[in-house]
């Protein structure tokens, strides 16, 4: 009966929530809860809603059980595995996906720019998730040490081994952002 609290939550959600509201990449999205087309099913994960309903396929699904980090998005400021969160739990949440990153003339986030320059990827399947975790890290800590970067990315599986180039890219993006911030002020 280990799943009982979850079941109760879902039943509860169906009873009390008619619709849910998300802010995805700055845009408001309102979904009806139900089993019809375009509706958010009570058992639907955030990763599924992002990919299937909103077409935001930059968020990848690999293990679908919270062990690999491929589906990481930023929810209310924190990097989370979107395959482990039901969309009905997210009412009122602010969500950023890889498609929501980017600013400035190049349209790229400094992390994305640094990943390109360092070729901080091989097959690229893990890359969006890693970038989202790195983004959440730099948002809360603009000057992370190497150990903090490794800690923040420790939930990401990469079998090509892009790790070393990723660490360098994250360091460089952090440096650039600090420099930009200091020249702004």
């Amino acid at each position: 009966m280990a799943c009982l609290p979850g079941v109760i939550f879902v039943i509860d959600a169906m009873r009390t929530l008619r619709s849910i509201r998300l802010i995805v990449n700055g845009e408001e999205k309102v979904f009806k809860v139900g089993r019809g087309p375009g509706q958010v099913k009570p058992f639907e994960t955030l990763a599924e809603t992002l990919r299937e309903t909103l077409g935001l396929t930059g968020t990848k699904i690999s293990c679908d059980e919270g062990a690999c980090g491929a589906c990481t998005v930023i929810m209310n400021g924190k990097a989370v595995p979107s395959c482990m969160i039901l969309t009905v739990e997210c009412d009122g949440s602010k969500i950023t996906t890889i498609e929501g990153l980017g600013r400035g003339p190049s349209g790229l986030d400094p992390l994305q720019q640094a990943f390109i320059e360092h070729t901080a990827f091989q097959c690229g399947f893990c890359t969006p998730g890693i970038i989202m975790s790195a983004r959440a890290l730099l948002n809360r800590n603009p000057n992370p040490g190497e150990e903090e970067i490794r800690e923040a990315l420790s939930g990401h599986l990469c079998r090509c081994i892009s790790h070393y180039q990723v660490i360098e890219a994250v360091k460089e993006a952090a440096r650039k952002e600090r420099w930009e911030r200091s020249s702004d002020s």
């Binding site: 935001l56 930059g58 690999s62 690999c68 890889i98 390109i116 970067i149």
Partner: protein, 758 residues
């Protein structure tokens, strides 16, 4: 040497870099076709059983379920190395073998429907180890294979001559010349999984009467056409589209079953069907490394000369073989590349058992063989106090040496002697200071003992198989490459464009790729054996040269000169000695023409790459845990084409069932039922960002003259020398030889206890 290049060796972003970092790359799971259905399989809970009956009724009653297929509903399509494994069979041969296929409107529904199928089995006795499989009277997996022994050799590779073993000289005489003889048995039998992040999958579309179209995110989509043709027959038209590949490491070079499941479900429903494995299915049912065991005897002289090698290489391929014979053939060739000896009697024996099949993984037989064969040589080195670095320097092939390769033919080595590479790696790593002799730790600090080790691997498949390419020049000063190649992580799609750009002197922005469609591009076998730089690269280079030549022939009358007098750069043609007059391609092609170049690379097995990996480990004698502290890879790339991707490839030694197969990567099977116990990404152990060792890649550029830019590929072999190096380092730290992998805390503690060191 001394040539200046615009693109070769330069730090240039990959052409797909922007799409990767923005999430815009469309992998298989990101594709939506109209009316697409989703497939799922019901799999056997038994390692060996006959299917008596499948009741589909409850599943078919579920709204949204479109088809259920069992062995009775499908054609007699058979795959595997000898075409004896039926796509769906009345008999299931491992836990996870497919019993039935379901197509439904959603994946979730397909999974639910599969659960509603009721199957009656007649459970059969099973064999889960090669020892059980070869026992007299053991149950047979296939009537065709008495004793569960598969025939060796690959018919397509030289017919009956195809390499199955290494037999030459006189082992008895060789043993007499030896100063030391070592005997033993070593096992690399823990069937690790490379686990690309993107699970294997395909979208299949069947169109009556006889056309199948398949979208795959695999490593070698054109080869699928050739492989599937052997299974489904010539009368069926096959077309494949190659999508970006979310990791493969060899494993997704073949996925005929997944592809045909999708096609069969499409044939049954009239809709395109997406069939992808869940991660659990991927780990429990898709291909693993072959299991490898050597029992043998070697003779050695004091100077490290190997006087004889004899033994049996026992390979467990699981429930069937798609490429195991090929891996044995290449492994046998690679053994001769790494170990010079006049006298060999190394025989292979391939056995099938009731477990998930083995298949292609980086190292392709050679890693598995090295991990079990070289430890046997180490026993002899230890008796004679031979330093393994000196041994490898002496024994890796030198130009003029020879070897039997996969087709059973004798090749004379035209490659580069890697001795300077080994020496440079050893120097940078500090080998001479750290090596204290066999079974001696480098240092002891309380309960921590450090040890060092070295491993080697080289592969003459760098020029494996034929490749073809077209390069089309357009009037607007762009070049389009037609190659049946998809990007699988090595950056090779950009790199073939770099090579063509260098020939055509066009900027990378002007280099395009035609869609990866088997109907559009010419024959390309795809990545494998580090062949992209030399084989595929040379085909593209030749196609670019051919196109350039044709362009200059068209341009010559406009200059009133001969084509040889002309050159081209940045979309302009000019005379070499009078570069002031420049005519753009648009004028030469009059805005209406294209120029098409064709290039073909013929197989060349006479050169090899080589990678040496040095490691330092620390063993905790209280807990038995092994920590990998340092990894130094040394190789010769001939000429570096793409420094960043090469660095990444070599760092890849830590992933995809590579170096860590020595200490913690393994697939754990219940030895009585055949169930895989760690088929998820928590229980299958993998290295995280928190436990990265120090890594350094020492890359030399001693030219390979047979490539236009003197380059050779090394990506595939990155994983292969490492496990042996770690094995050696742990042996030295602990003071005991180990006879099986991985070197888990339990095994390390047991060895320490045996040695009286705790």
């Amino acid at each position: 040497m001394g040539e200046e290049f615009r693109f070769i060796g330069k730090k240039i972003p990959r052409q797909d870099a922007l799409d990767i970092v923005t999430g815009r790359v469309r992998f298989l799971n990101d594709i939506r076709l109209p009316n697409m259905l989703y497939g799922h399989a019901l799999r056997s809970p038994y390692a060996h059983a006959l299917i008596k009956k499948v009741d589909k009724s409850r599943a078919l009653r579920l709204k949204g379920v479109k088809a259920v297929l069992t062995w009775e509903d499908v054609p007699d399509w058979k795959g595997g190395s000898r075409n004896t494994t039926r796509i769906l069979d009345r008999k299931v041969r491992f836990v996870g073998d497919v019993v039935a296929l379901v197509a439904a409107e959603t994946k979730r529904l397909a999974i639910e429907a599969a659960r509603l199928l009721k199957v009656e089995y007649e459970v059969l006795p099973h064999v889960l180890s090669p020892d059980e499989a070869m026992r007299e009277g053991a149950p047979l997996l296939y009537d065709e294979y008495p004793g569960n022994i598969l025939p060796s050799g690959v018919p397509q590779w030289g017919g009956p001559r195809s390499l199955k073993s290494v037999v030459m000289g006189n082992v008895e005489e060789g043993l007499k010349e030896a100063h030391a003889i070592a005997e033993g048995e070593f096992r690399y039998e823990h069937i690790p999984n490379p686990i690309p992040l993107e699970s294997p999958g395909a979208i299949g579309l069947w169109e009556e009467p006889n056309r199948m179209t398949i979208w795959v995110s695999d490593q070698a989509f054109y080869k699928h056409v050739e492989y599937l043709r052997r299974i489904v027959g010539e009368e069926i038209e096959i077309r494949t589209f190659g999508l970006p590949c979310g990791g493969s490491y060899g494993s997704k070079s073949m996925s005929w079953q997944v592809q045909l499941y999708a096609v069969l479900l499409s044939r049954a429903t009239g809709c395109p069907v997406h069939f992808s494995l869940t991660k659990h299915e991927h780990l429990a049912t898709f291909v693993l490394r072959p299991s490898s065991r050597i029992k043998g005897k070697v003779g050695m002289k004091r100077d490290g000369t190997v006087t004889a090698i004899s033994g049996t290489w026992l390979v467990d391929t699981g429930y069937y073989s798609q490429t195991t014979q090929a891996q044995v053939a290449v492994g046998c060739g690679e053994a001769q590349l790494a170990i010079r000896s006049q006298n060999w009697d190394l025989r292979s024996l391939i056995v099938c058992t009731n477990r998930t099949a083995s298949g292609i993984v980086r190292g392709f037989g050679g890693q598995e063989l090295k991990c079990s064969l070289i430890p046997l040589l180490c026993l002899a080195m230890a008796k004679l106090d031979v330093d393994p670095v000196d041994f490898f320097k002496k024994n890796f092939a030198k130009p003029g040496d020879g070897y039997f390769w996969r087709d059973g033919l004798w090749y004379t080595y035209r490659g580069v002697d890697p001795a300077p590479v080994i020496e440079e790696g050893a120097r940078r790593f500090g080998w001479r200071e750290k090596w204290k002799g066999w079974l001696r730790p480098t240092s002891v600090d309380g309960q921590k003992r450090r040890g060092v080790g070295v491993g080697i691997h080289g592969n003459a498949d760098v020029g494996e198989d034929a490749s073809e390419a077209y390069v089309r020049l357009d009037w607007n000063g762009t070049a389009t490459i037609f190659s049946c190649l998809t990007e699988h992580g090595t950056g090779q799609k950009t790199n073939i464009a770099r090579m063509a750009a260098e020939v055509l002197q066009l900027s990378m922005e002007r280099m395009r790729h035609a869609p990866a469609d088997s109907l559009i591009g010419p024959r390309e076998r795809g990545p494998g054996g580090s062949r992209m730089t030399y084989a595929a690269g040379s085909a593209v280079i030749k196609a670019a040269e051919d196109a350039r030549e044709k362009l200059l022939i068209l341009a010559a009358p406009l200059f009133g000169t001969t084509p040889e007098d002309l050159d081209t750069k940045d979309g302009m043609v000019f005379q070499r000695h009078k570069p002031e007059k420049r005519i753009p391609w648009s004028s030469i092609l009059e805005g209406t023409r294209t120029v098409m170049g064709y290039g073909r690379f013929e197989p060349d097995y006479s050169i090899s790459n080589c990678l040496v990996t040095f490691v330092e480990v620390e063993v905790d004698t209280e807990t038995g845990k092994v920590d990998l502290l340092k990894v130094f890879n040394a190789t010769n790339a001939g000429r570096i084409i793409d420094p960043q991707s090469l660095e990444g490839q070599l760092n890849g030694c830590l992933g995809s069932a590579g170096i860590d197969t020595a200490i913690f990567e393994e697939t754990i099977m219940d030895g009585s039922t055949g169930h895989i116990l760690n088929a998820n990404l928590v229980d299958y152990k993998w290295r995280t960002f928190l436990e990265l060792p120090e890594i350094e890649n020492v890359i030399l550029e001693i030219p390979y003259p047979t490539h236009r830019f003197h380059a050779v590929g090394v990506g595939e072999i990155a994983t292969s020398p490492g496990p042996l190096a770690v094995w050696m380092a742990v042996c030295n730290a602990v003071g005991q030889f180990f006879y099986e992998y991985p070197l888990t805390p339990e095994r390390v503690l047991a060895a320490l206890k045996r040695g009286g060191k705790v």
